[in-house]
Symmetry: C2
Subunit: 243 residues, 2 copies
DNA sequence: ACGAGTATACTTGTATACAAGTTATTATAG
DNA sequence: CTATAATAACTTGTATACAAGTATACTCGT
């Protein structure tokens, strides 16, 4: 029963978080990073002992993660589903789905304020790059898309976002930490792509938007493989992944 | 502190349910029906006393309902959001969104088994009509759409469905109970529409599918007003609804 | 050696107790 | 009568205890 020595999720993002939230975020990161292998059976008691909290916050965490489709609650224990190629594609299906929907709404309303806000976030991202702060960059990246989605004030689209966001956040976080120092051109491509996205919203041009969305998707797809390679190689959870 | 004498949610659907699930379903029904007015502040302690259970299952219920966007958890108490015209439209936005997505996947795969399954459900619906069993009809109606969505084996689309389903179920349940005896032509229109839907899947014809989806939406929209009229009139939550 | 039945060590779901913090109320001073 | 301070009555979050059920392991009989 080894201690979870270091936390994967940024401590500073948990300043006012409850124990339940902390466990949720930490477990999520450990599952998505592959540190907890898919197929693992999680027990409330063991987790409680491991994280030095009672079962209450653990239960809460497991419910949340089950909602995010990262684990499956069964009679005896929670079975880790994890994230493989298929899941990443599916998440991006959903993102494409809701962001194209959002765009159709955006073309009908005044987006001046939104564009302003997005530009601000973009500048923040550039500062994050300047100071090589991968976590901050990931945060702003997620915030960028959240800002767009929230702009149309659609509570059930927000609901979908709320359920996909944490997984996206963790995924981007891990991805950024890996690539931030190596490939600068990758990062600049992401920034350019976000500029393109802002352009699409400003000019309300569907073509550009679609282009931007798909390019973003391709960018991510590229990183997916690397993430598998690096994180999954150490843990030898290589059995169930064929193809 | 009046007792919740009769339950709105069908008892037989809760045969193996835990206390938490019972409370969840019951609260959901009471919120959607308008019996618990939007704006009400729910306290865990009061609910626990009211339903004669401890706070644990109540907490669980509130988390679930917050995820379904029916309440908003805040510092002191949970604030009931409820369902108004806007929310119903939004839910159907989501349904349109995911069902069109699902259809695009369905046209690429063999749907023979699915069509068979859907026909079975359709016949069940007709039996439910014959015996004037509104609850059973609602159940099969929801199952119909769930079966279609599950057919493409997309875990994150399923996730969205999992979050919208309970609200849809409750809504359809209430709607059916109201209309089942009065308007027989309404019911038969629903059945015909489902037939159309099956046809669309069988022939993989986008036109028919869109037509079917929108007609279904119109059907529901018609019922929305009635639901407001009937359920909301008694409780005098008429204040915050202008237009 | 092997199968049946029992005992034990798990599991989750629920109730209850306590701590920390927030709000509302009440009492007191001006 | 009003403003302010203190107390009392709430709130949530967490820990702990217990009950009911399930899987595993072990023992006993054949």
């Amino acid at each position: 029963m080894k201690e979870p020595t270091d936390s994967l999720y940024p401590e500073k993002w948990l300043s006012k978080a409850s124990a339940g939230e902390r466990v949720t975020c930490e477990l999520r990161m450990r599952i998505i990073s592959g540190l907890i292998e898919s197929g693992t059976i999680l027990s409330e008691n063991k987790l409680a002992a491991e994280y030095n909290v009672s079962r209450s916050p653990i239960r809460e965490a497991l419910r949340v993660l089950a909602n995010e489709n990262l684990i499956r609650l069964e009679r005896m224990g929670a079975i880790v589903i994890g994230i493989k190629e298929k899941e990443v594609e599916e998440i991006y299906d959903v993102r494409l789905l809701i962001e194209t929907f959002v765009f159709e709404r955006l073309v009908k309303i005044d987006t001046a304020d939104l564009v302003r806000e997005l530009n601000k976030i973009l500048e923040m991202m550039q500062i994050a790059i300047k100071y090589k702060d991968a976590d901050e960059f990931a945060y702003q990246d997620v915030l960028f898309h959240e800002t767009i989605i929230r702009a149309i004030d659609h509570s059930y689209i927000s609901m979908i976002w709320n359920n996909t966001k944490p997984v996206m956040e963790s995924f981007i976080l891990l991805s950024m930490r890996m690539h931030f120092n190596e490939k600068y051109d990758d990062i600049s491509r992401i920034v350019n792509n976000h500029k393109l996205y802002i352009d699409a919203i400003k000019t309300k041009d569907r073509e550009i938007m679609i282009q931007s969305l798909h390019q973003n998707f391709d960018d991510v797809q590229g990183k997916v493989d690397d993430l598998w390679m690096s994180q999954r190689m150490l843990s030898k959870a290589w059995g169930q992944e064929k193809e």
